[in-house]
């Protein structure tokens, strides 16, 4: 099982495009094209020296094309990854220690996301210079700004506060 996190879509090793990690987190089954948004949501931009591997549009059994993100040396908590459900609802999270997957779980939709998205309503108080952290409640089919009430259903990724 040492390389489970590379094989669960049945890909052969010669298709393996993203190197294995020793310790850290593998975020798998991300919808094709969303990997960079996953990193943006997690606040990982490489400036802190994180070792990150990204595979984009990799063939997948479950999703026609998937992205995969591997973060070396960092185990992401459930709270940290749940926000990913907004853009990658099918993502699976694998926690890897010494090349073994020791935990595997799905992302769950949180009730509230804070400080991750910015409100698209130019008339919202959170878009000014106020010392306020953005807050959205998560609806069945979108998110809603807790301050101005604006609902966003499509292109939530475009709201990611980078």
């Amino acid at each position: 099982m040492s390389d489970d996190h590379d094989h669960h879509d049945g890909n052969d090793d010669h298709e393996l495009r993203v190197s294995k990690i020793r310790d850290g987190t593998v975020i798998d089954h991300v919808h094709g094209g969303q990997a960079l948004n996953v990193l943006a949501i997690l606040g990982i931009d490489g400036t802190e020296g994180e070792e990150v591997s990204v595979g984009m549009n990799v063939p997948s059994d479950r999703l026609a094309r998937k992205d995969i993100v591997k973060v070396e040396g960092r185990e992401l908590s459930q709270d940290e990854v749940d926000v990913l459900s907004l853009i990658a609802p099918d993502a699976t999270i694998n926690i890897v220690r010494d090349y073994d997957v020791v935990e595997k779980h799905r992302v769950e939709r949180p009730d509230i996301v804070e400080g991750v998205l910015s409100c698209p309503n130019a008339g919202c108080i959170t878009t000014g210079d106020e010392p306020v952290t953005s807050r959205f409640s998560v609806l069945e089919d979108g998110v809603r700004c807790s301050y101005c009430g604006t609902i966003v259903r499509d292109e939530i990724a475009s709201l990611i506060d980078t």
Binding site: N121, G123, C124, I125, T126, T127, G128, D129, E130, P131, V132, R144, C145, S146, Y147, C148, G149, T150, I151
Partner: protein
């Protein structure tokens, strides 16, 4: 538990609304009974947008309760001009006062401000968002004239940007009210508001129209709002649209004799002056009701009164 702040009419239950309206009626009948209720109370008025009625009626209400107000004045003459944030402004003024009344051009301003202060904060309008105290005086006026249950109301004009409309619509879902929303397509209710109304009610009480004609005969109350020129890219389009949502004596010929006409004021030409003297007109009475209703609300909020149930912070 009690409400610490009054931010939106969505936070108010039917019981809360009835408590305020009953108390307002008591005060209206005998204002002298509460004349000294708040002799040492200072209310801070922070109006970041122009206001006549709302600001003056809050000031009147506080003074009629025996208290006084301190007024930030216009934005141009305040430290806001120097770039101070709203969060800082409210934290400073709360130290001077026992309660705050806030009007601000940004939606969600009152929600945010309430997170920074401990004194009760009342939303007196936040952009296109909410205006719950206007709603309370609207409900008071509707109750006096037509009753709040078994009510058929038409709400007409700028439903997109009209915060008084949004607040009133939410509050009316607590009652057995059929709400007809009449507007040009470009000024329909925001989808967020429609979503909420359907969440709060099953949607059967909500209908949208582009013309008053078909629905007018069935109405107990017609609530008219101003269509603002600046909402339209060109003058011709404004003139064309606005003209369709104005009422005069001829319009009302098709209405029930019992129809009550309301307007949050100021009006421009949505309601012809000839209606003022008819028994339909309730808009000046509505404006006057702002004082007893705001007296009731201020007294309940400033007295730590437990009669308004629920907690806005939950």
């Amino acid at each position: 538990m009690r409400h610490d702040h009054l931010i939106t009419s969505k936070q108010l239950s039917r019981g809360d609304i009835e408590t305020v309206l009953d108390y307002a009626a008591e005060i209206d009948a005998d204002p002298s009974a509460v004349a000294d209720r708040h002799a040492d109370t200072l209310l801070g008025l922070l109006f970041f947008e122009p206001s006549t009625r709302t600001k003056m009626s809050f000031e009147t209400a506080m003074k009629r309760l025996g208290g006084d107000v301190v007024d930030m004045g216009s934005v141009d003459s305040s430290s806001v001009k120097k770039g101070e944030t709203l969060a800082d402004t409210v934290r400073v003024i709360e130290g001077y006062t026992d309660g705050l009344v806030l009007r601000h051009p940004k939606q969600g301003a009152a929600t945010m401000a309430s997170e920074f202060v401990d004194v009760p904060l009342v939303n007196a309008g936040d952009g296109a968002g909410h205006h719950p105290t206007q709603t309370m005086l609207d409900l008071y006026t509707i109750r006096e004239n037509a009753g709040l249950d078994d009510l058929t109301i038409g709400i007409m004009g700028d439903l997109k940007y009209g915060r008084t409309v949004h607040s009133l619509a939410y509050a009316l879902t607590n009652f057995d009210a059929q709400q007809h929303f009449i507007s040009p397509e470009s000024l329909q209710l925001p989808r967020e508001v429609v979503y909420d109304l359907h969440q709060q009610q099953d949607g059967t009480g909500i209908k949208e129209h582009d013309s008053l004609e078909g629905v007018l005969p069935s109405l107990d109350v017609l609530y008219v709002t101003r269509i603002q020129r600046e909402r339209f890219p060109d003058e011709n389009e404004y003139q064309k649209v606005a003209g369709e949502y104005q009422i005069d004596a001829e319009t009302l010929a098709a209405a029930s004799d019992e129809l009550t006409v309301m307007h949050p004021l100021p009006r421009v030409d949505e309601i012809a002056p000839e209606i003022d003297e008819t028994h339909h007109a309730a808009y000046f009475e509505q404006a006057h009701n702002g004082v007893p209703v705001r007296m009731a609300l201020l007294d309940l909020l400033l007295s730590d009164d437990t009669r308004i149930g629920g907690d806005s912070n939950e």
